[in-house]
Amino acid sequence: MYTYTEFDDAFVRERVAQFRGQVERRIDGSLTEDEFRPLRLMNGLYLQLHAYMLRVAIPYGTLNGAQMRQLAYIAERWDRGYGHFTTRQNIQYNWPKLSDVPDMLSALADVGMHAIQTSGNTIRNVTADHFAGAAADEIEDPRPVAELLRQWSTDHPEFQFLPRKFKIAITGSPNDRAVTRAHDIGLRMVRNDAGEPGFEVIVGGGLGRTPMIGKTVRDFLPKADLLPYVEAILSVYNTLGRRDNKYKARIKITVHETGIEAIREMVEARFAELRPEFTGADQEVLAGIEAQFAAPEWAKVSAAPFEAAYTNDPLFRSFADTNLAAHRNPDYAIVSVSLKAHGATPGDATADQMRTLADLAERYGHDELRISHEQNVILPHVPKGHLPAVHAALKAAGLATANIGLASDIIACPGMDYCALATARSIPIAQEIATRVDELKLEHDIGALKIKISGCINACGHHHVGHIGILGLDRAGVENYQITLGGDGTETASIGERAGPGFSADEIVPAIERLITGYLDLRNSPDETFLAAYRRLGAEPFKAILYPQEKEKARAA
């Protein structure tokens, strides 16, 4: 497996030692909080509502068994026995003591991990599809290109002072699982008419206060042109981007204000200038990275146990139908392990569960694990013949919930149960919806449905791209939940539209229930998903379900 070397071991150890000294000086009073705050933030340590929170990076969401086991150890030794996997593909510890954090960082460094946060108006983490290197629909593993982009952009002198932070997402599959249309630059691998792999290049997407779907600036970009092209985009953004207003500085505003045609012209012109400067050194580096990301040596395992369990064990069958995805090797499957047991906190895993996952990865899965932005854990490479054993172990650990992609597989940001920025809670809403959906026993009938919840306008819960999005707000000192409908984070991306007035904390779960049961009557066949029905029918019938009183009033008038 590739060992990610953003920071080498010596550098990380040095940073831990420095931070240990800083913590000591904060505690003994020689550093004020104002002096200390930026130092702890750089080391991933936040002060939240009820406690400190340590955010640990998981680059490309990729980790191995030893790393997962260490995350379990840290949770038990210094936290409260669990960790929270977030929509940013990292893990957060919600209860560290300030004085313990240097030891936690040191334990992370022992397995090549860290909590160092890149900050400033630079190119931030490049994110990739969580099925990368495993998916059947994948053209190529996007992680080597992601890693090339990261190496190239780090310390690139021209891009240390961009108008604002800058995020790139990449997928190697035409089916977009990396939400590339909600990033500053999104790269989606496609083939041209000649069958050659290249990228659709998307610019100007983003969520948050001003959500925008990225626009295609180039339909097909040959792989070898990637760096000069991305550099051209950044250079245009560097020139046009607004530095006068933080809220207008992201490239999404630049694209929106300038227009995609004008942006395209400028990018293409700049690209024509830059292209000759790239004479192939970047492609050599890429080849080196690709070699390190080479796929594991596939094992030959008889699929007979799978067939038998599939026929005889209804629980296994349901799990297999819901939580498996097609692997590039037909003898394998990708297993998505749901961290969304009905009624549990989305994304939380106990230390025991983490150890089970580490064991399973080592024993059956080529020692690979992934964290998805949907807050689930992936075993990307499991031979089909091992699936019954994997399922049995997951079941024993409370990890076999068969709900991937269904109504209870809800993304929820920490919200006001933990986050200091929150305007309302999001986790309990997710818990109540999932519990209710389970009581109704309808979710397999409902089918693909993405419900996403954020506890404030920062949109960490990606509510804008939920088929049903929920945004928690503070309306005159009371929690209020706004519903958006029709959002989509895939290759057919769209921003959800506000359905109407918000709901109180007591009303929101019944409102969601009305919506999903009402949809069953609206769809034209069991194959028509919620999103497809919404797109066919428009918002009106869904609004009528959500606000039955309004309809009554209209009729009375």
Partner: protein, 103 residues
Amino acid sequence: MSRRFTPKVVTANDLIEGDVVYLSSNDVWVRELHRAELIDDEAHADLRLLHAQGQPGIVVGAYLADAKAGPNGPEPVHFRETFRATGPSNYAHGKQEVSPHRA
């Protein structure tokens, strides 16, 4: 005319544990809102806040939060302070689980 002053408590996070604390009338940082000093007077509130901010070795981010008198002492006014006072609501942990050093 100045806005009418509404009662306050001084609250912050503990420097080491990070958990929510309140300033009591006898200058002890307590974990329970109902044991906090409820302050009715604006000038006194400012003094108490200054006193809290002068203890950077004990607490972080001291501020005045609205509170109201209840039968057992101060009670929160805004829901954010309710959650700060009781801990996460997704399941009983944090404050509800242990209070390592009840003052």
